[in-house]
């Protein structure tokens, strides 16, 4: 067992946790935040993606006890003041899901991704910060699987937000809700 203090969607929580517990299980089982989904539990599907200190991470591979002092944003924390996060609105507008199970992870992953600087493996010129083309979005979102195959609309939804807000604005918006 171990003591851990985490801030989740702006609210601090101090808990005594089994050292084997993942952050994913802490969110779902201890805090009742079931928006974050358990898919593979091996870091391969991305359904459990949350933002830890503003950066996207798979919460199934994060030991809860190691997150002491972390600032976590889950899908429940993306909307601010009753207004949907631009990514949530874009996913609805573009019909970017079918069953919805991967959607919380897709949203948190996209929110984190839009704030990430630098190239991806499909970027031609590594020294440039490339615009987020469909090919760039696909590569950067490859850690999130969608078994319904809604990828075409997911890419379009994220592309809409990237074009409208710009990466820097999005990063501010996300970390703003977390702190």
């Amino acid at each position: 067992m171990g003591d851990v203090t985490v801030r989740v969607n702006g609210t601090p929580h101090s808990l005594d946790v089994d050292s084997r517990m993942s952050l994913l299980d802490l969110l779902r089982e201890r805090l009742g935040l079931t928006g974050t989904k358990k898919g593979c539990d091996h870091g391969q599907c991305g359904a459990c993606t949350v933002l830890i200190d503003g950066r996207r991470a798979v919460s199934c591979l994060a030991l809860a006890v190691a997150q002491d002092g972390a600032d976590v944003t889950t899908v429940e924390g993306l909307a601010a003041d009753g207004a949907l996060h631009p990514l949530q609105a874009a996913f609805i507008e573009r019909d970017a899901f079918q069953c919805g199970y991967c959607t919380p992870g897709q949203l948190c992953s996209a929110a984190g991704m839009l704030g990430e600087a630098g190239p991806s493996v499909v970027t031609e010129d590594l020294t440039a910060d490339p615009p987020l083309s469909a090919a760039e979005i696909r590569e950067r979102m490859s850690g999130n699987l969608c078994r319904c195959g809604a990828y075409v609309n997911i890419v379009a939804a994220i592309g809409d937000v990237a074009a409208a807000g710009g990466a820097a604005d999005m990063a501010t918006a996300v970390t703003g809700t977390a702190r």
Binding site: G112, G118, L126
Partner: protein, 329 residues
């Protein structure tokens, strides 16, 4: 998952002092936590080294000193890495997913375990996981496993045809990176690709590190002259391990001959495989497709493909030739 005690180390010295038999160091946890969940790793004590301070990238000599706790994504996004070590940036970006790269550390990347399906399945024998129990991969599912330097020819209790899964380590092997290690017996520097070892008759040992050793940093010498890149062949476009990958540097003189080259293969052996024979064959030779093919052949003459992974020999040869052609000025 077996119960374990968790402690967080303040610094590298503190981590080593806290280490004892049965303990393991925890970095980003992206491989270790998974292996613990699978029952493959069963530490009774985790020493968390994610906050020991090795999270900086600094100039070192004419090269770069990368703290072992630096996250993979931060290494790939670093302006100096992108400009001077594009092969390394590309290799890191070719590995895992955005989420996993945000979590995984440089030290942990080097020490990740093979993804051989038998190693990860505790209901199967595996000489790496349980020494002496046998290797079902030799006669089984070895399509993605080693063609070079394996121990399939040894007695059953020593056989191992696992591959090292890291992309980054392949680039570091080509760059002559130096791995800084501290442990119970003090500090030392291990040159790549010598950190990892071939299975021999001790397939349970992936590296030359000893119990309690902790990687603290990776030092990059100045980048070698020439153009460089990293290419990875895999079964899907992203978020998959390499079938074969290649880190390559090619320096061609004005007279069209090869002044120098570096070649390291991934996905083919228990270690990142520095293709020293091919490098020797190519240095001083004309920079032509014929010579590239000859050099690749010189390296792969040593290959010992298994019944169902002979395609990797062809793939490795073609990858070397195509990549070197891409690097021609």
């Amino acid at each position: 998952m077996k119960p374990f005690e968790y402690t967080r180390a303040r610094d590298a010295g503190d981590a080593v002092a806290r280490f004892r038999a049965g303990a393991m160091y925890l970095g980003g946890g992206t491989n270790l936590v998974d292996l613990m969940r699978l029952g493959v790793a069963e530490p009774d004590h985790l020493v968390d080294v994610s906050r020991v301070g090795g999270d900086r990238i600094e100039p070192g000599g004419d090269g770069l000193l990368i703290g072992a706790g630096v996250r993979n994504s931060d290494l790939a996004a670093h302006p100096v890495v992108r400009e001077r070590y594009p092969m390394l940036a590309r290799a890191v970006l070719a590995g895992a997913s955005g989420q996993v790269r945000n979590m995984a550390t440089i030290g942990g990347n080097l020490l990740q375990r093979t993804r051989c399906p038998y190693f990860q399945d505790v209901s199967k024998p595996c000489n790496k996981r349980q020494p002496g129990s046998g290797c079902p991969a030799v006669a089984g599912d070895h399509r993605n496993l080693a063609i070079l330097g394996h121990s399939a020819g040894l007695e059953a209790a020593a056989q191992c045809v696992a591959t090292h899964p890291s992309d980054m380590a392949v680039a570091l092997a080509a760059l002559d990176a130096q791995v800084h290690v501290t442990g119970p017996d003090g500090s030392r520097v291990v040159p790549m690709p010598g950190l990892h070892r071939l299975p021999g008759d001790e397939p349970d040992r992936d590296t030359v590190l000893r119990p309690g050793d902790l990687i603290t940093a990776v030092e990059l010498p100045p980048p070698p002259p020439g153009r460089s890149t990293y290419r990875k062949v895999r079964e899907r476009a992203s978020f998959a391990f390499a079938l074969v990958s290649l880190a390559a540097v090619l320096d061609v003189g004005r007279d069209g001959t090869v002044r120098g080259c570096r070649l390291a293969l991934g996905g083919v052996a228990h270690t990142p495989w520095r293709a020293a024979r091919a490098e020797r064959a190519l240095t001083g030779a004309p920079a032509t497709a014929e010579e590239f093919t000859r050099a690749a052949g010189a390296e792969l003459a040593e290959a010992q493909p298994l019944p169902r992974n002979g395609y990797k020999v062809t793939l490795a040869r073609n990858l070397i030739v195509a990549t070197l052609q891409e690097l021609l000025p």
